[in-house]
């Protein structure tokens, strides 16, 4: 590879702006600029040194900060598009056709277009994930590209820098020491800078005071954290790393936990509490009558005995008892159970009396468990009721056949065959809520409706996410990195005392010029240094005063 040889004899890799040893400008651009570009301390970054192969070209593309910023903005815009209308996972319909209809009905033709373009599920779209992936690649490439040369040039700093380097810094000064003993000047500078927590190095008549160098690594640390975080998010795709299931459990029920082999959960009771406040103005505005205070499932978690047949519910061993509330999940061995949903007063049992219509004589009660109905209910030796048909969510007849919409007992209907002493062959009757049909004309007996029992149902979700620890590590590293890069800054002061005792100095900071100048004011005052000049203010043409 081509090398740039500086007048001082130091060999620099091609693309270097400022000589790594003495700091002399090497490129035409650097020579012409009044203030040099101190990014990466003028060191060559990889992308500036090679541009031949395809790999180099791809590398250079991703290492460019311009490309990186473009990717950040594109991701930002793509993310915002997903907030125009609610995303599919927030609307409560399931089939594709229903979704399409939802967007069209609710938002008109724009909604339809939104759905058809796939924007209603943007965050799962392949192109969105590619955009995030490209951002990640850009972060990795740019960090390697710049991090290594920066590290090298920060580590190998010489104390003495060439005049042409010093003069091209933003803050400079040159001149005699105002009064006092010039021979003591460097010592005084060293003393003062040390008291300002700078590290001071000397090399003959030159001095370098430096503080907060570690802050230059902040961005690299935070980028590292980001990458770990994104990698952890991707880990979810690994089977077994991530469980996300939802389940409904009725009060009194024991159900196998989906995604958690060999475990069962029992819902002892579901509790809904409401705030008993007077309606506030905001509730009035939003048309909310009462605000929920607590959603709670009193749950028992069981484990199957070691040698049990899968699905078998006898011999369960209680492992945890907990009141699951919002913000207070039940946690057990990496799994968490969250209170997500509930349904109140679901019909559970319907009670009937087998009754003689004319005399009103009752032969006996029949109580039907709606989630677990039996085929036959025997009342006594001569009377029984057979259940010929059960329609938990009756929705009407089709070709004479009763239909059910869902398996949930929202609107139960039955076909009974009632066997009584008078009718040993049985009488058939179709019974739904507020409706009775007797296909064979007038029956003598009827199933007189007595009442219902209801119970509540809890919607729980079961989660396991083994990527959380790694996610936390990534997040923590990111935060530490940004904090280091943001709350500390790198300040440097180069001083050289010339033969005639005059002082030449230059200062640089990556962020906080105000702070740098305060330090300079302090040391100038103490060591009677010549007045410094901010060359960028000269360029901006100085107006007003900074006292305001």
């Amino acid at each position: 590879m081509e090398k740039l040889i500086c007048v001082c004899g130091h060999e620099n890799p091609a693309g270097t702006k400022l000589c790594g040893k003495c700091g002399r400008p090497l490129t035409e651009e650097a020579k012409e600029s009044k203030i040099v570009d101190m990014k990466y301390d003028g060191a060559a970054i990889r992308s500036k040194t090679r541009n031949k192969s395809i790999v180099d070209k791809v590398w250079n593309f991703f290492s460019s900060v311009k490309v990186g910023i473009a990717l950040i903005i594109i991701n930002l815009v793509a993310a915002s598009i997903g907030t125009i209308f609610p995303q599919e996972f927030y609307i409560s319909v399931s089939t594709e056709a229903e979704k399409a209809a939802y967007y069209e009905d609710t938002y008109g033709s724009i909604g339809k277009l939104y759905y058809e373009l796939g924007l209603s599920d943007v965050y799962n779209a392949w192109w969105f994930q590619i955009l995030v992936g490209m951002l990640a690649i850009s972060i990795i490439v740019a960090s390697i590209d710049r991090g290594i040369p920066l590290h090298r040039s920060l580590k190998n700093q010489r104390v003495k820098r060439h005049e042409s380097f010093m003069k091209r810094q933003r803050v400079v000064a040159e001149g005699p020491v105002a009064n006092g003993d010039p021979a003591q000047t460097l010592n005084m500078i060293e003393e003062k800078m040390k008291s300002l927590k700078y590290k001071v190095r000397r090399d003959g008549n030159a001095l370098l005071a430096e503080r907060g160098r570690f802050s230059r690594y902040g961005p690299y640390i935070n980028h590292c954290g980001l990458i770990i975080f994104l990698a952890a998010v991707m880990l979810r795709l690994v089977p077994g790393f991530y469980v996300d299931e939802s389940m409904w459990v009725r009060e009194g029920e024991v159900r196998a936990v989906p995604g958690m082999e060999g475990y069962f959960i029992e819902n002892e009771a579901f509790i809904l509490e409401l705030h008993d406040n007077e309606k506030t103005e905001n509730q009035e505005l939003q048309g909310v009558n009462a605000v929920a205070k607590n959603f709670q499932t009193n749950a028992k978690l069981y484990k199957q005995a070691e040698d049990a047949v899968p699905g078998q519910t006898d011999n369960l061993e209680l492992v945890k008892e907990y009141s699951i509330r919002v913000n207070h999940p039940l946690q057990y061995e990496g799994y968490s159970f969250y209170q997500m949903d509930f349904r109140m007063n679901e019909l559970s049992v319907m009670n009937f009396q087998l009754t003689n219509k004319e005399t009103g004589e009752a032969l006996g009660p029949v109580s039907i468990d709606l989630t677990n109905p039996q085929d036959e209910y025997i009342i006594n030796e001569q009377a029984k009721v057979e259940l010929l048909g059960y329609y938990p969510d009756f929705s009407g007849f089709e070709n004479g056949e009763p239909q059910t919409l869902t398996p949930t007992p929202n609107n139960p209907a039955f076909i009974f065959k009632m066997t009584t002493p008078e009718h040993p062959d049985g009488e058939v009757s179709f019974v739904a809520i507020q409706q009775t049909i007797e296909p064979n004309g007038d029956n003598e007996y009827k199933m007189a409706f007595q009442g219902v029992e209801t119970r509540n149902m809890s919607g729980l979700t079961v989660h396991k996410d083994s990527s959380i620890p790694l996610l936390a590590v990534g997040g923590a590293i990111f935060m530490i990195g940004v904090a280091i890069g943001s709350y500390w800054n790198h300040r440097r002061l180069w001083v050289e005392q010339l033969e005639d005792g005059t002082i030449r100095l230059a200062a640089h900071t990556n962020k906080n010029w105000f702070g740098m100048k305060k330090d300079l004011d302090a040391v100038s005052e103490y060591a009677k240094l010549p007045k410094y000049l901010d060359q960028s203010e000269e360029i901006e043409e100085k107006e007003g005063d900074s006292a305001l």
Partner: protein, 395 residues
Amino acid sequence: MSLIDLSGNFLFIAFIAYLVGTLLFGGAIKNTKPDGAAKRADNWGKLAIIVTVVGFLAHLAYFITRWIYTGHAPVSNMFEFTTAFGMFIIGAFILIYYMYRISALGLIALPVAILIIGYAAMFPSEADPLVPSLQSYWLTIHVITAAMGQSILAISAVAGLLYLLKAVDPKSKTKSRFWMEAVLYFCFLVVGFILATVIFKGMGYEANFSYVNAQGKELEITYNMPAVFGMNDYTLLTDGKMEPLVEMPPVINAKKLTTVFWSFVIGSVVYLLVRLISRKRILEMLHPLVQKVNLNLLDEVGYRSVLIGFPVFTLGALVFAMIWAQEAWGRYWGWDPKEVWALITWLFYAAYLHLRLSKGWEGKKSAWLALIGFAIILFNLIVVNLVIAGLHSYA
């Protein structure tokens, strides 16, 4: 006096202090002749910051007493959150003031906070009961940290606005001049919103309508301003009130649109009146006031406030938010609109920081970016809360 009344009085004291503080900061930066004026300005400035700190303490007292009264951090409805946001902006200003001692910042920061508190006061100030998901100390930690981050970021917009007030020449016809005037006009619209609410409330205006929503359900709604836009398939139920001029489809909340309409009308009338009387652009009126500020220093203040605010915002709006979401719903991220807009804000400021790495994105350009960033924060506060439906929506 009950605790909640006391709390309200503290807020009122804070509001008055910020008004007085604005005037004092105005005195502090007035461009008078050098016959001891610098010293006088200094005294005004000292007084101004003292009054501001007193206002801030009163504001803090409001916050704490309300917290004690309601039993939860007062950040859980539009009034509470926005009022707290105003408080944190003042806090962030005080922080930056003690770092850089730029009085002129107060001339922008205080009015911004005043407008924000005024805006907050237009929402019902009653304390609302908390739904189960909000009953978590992570809510407190998350919202307060996020609001602090946003406030520190907002100071970069304050510095940016000040920068542009000086740097944009009101005499030459440029795009910057147009957009600066647009930013100032927006402030008048906020005033318009406050005036519209106060005026119609003062008149006791109330008109009930029935309407049909997107799901075909018939509902009722009360307008507190003359209904310019009617809800889908509306019927006026109150006698003698104005019939809407235009009917809106069910996706659009015509009541909110009506509020926006009146804010525009009244804000624009005030703006035009000011322009007519002064015969000057607002920019031209403010430009001479800020001649003494140092642009280089302001640029650095803008950058530093983004640097200081960015980690705080990340911690509050993303990290703590994820921890809370994980605890409440079992997923740290759910692409809820408010979450997405927090992410957008974060990405935007990341872009700001990276743009500063390349030359040329300092000074004016950076100042504009800071204003855009603040616009995103306001969008998240106003539009996402009130228009886009989601888990976080307040109304």
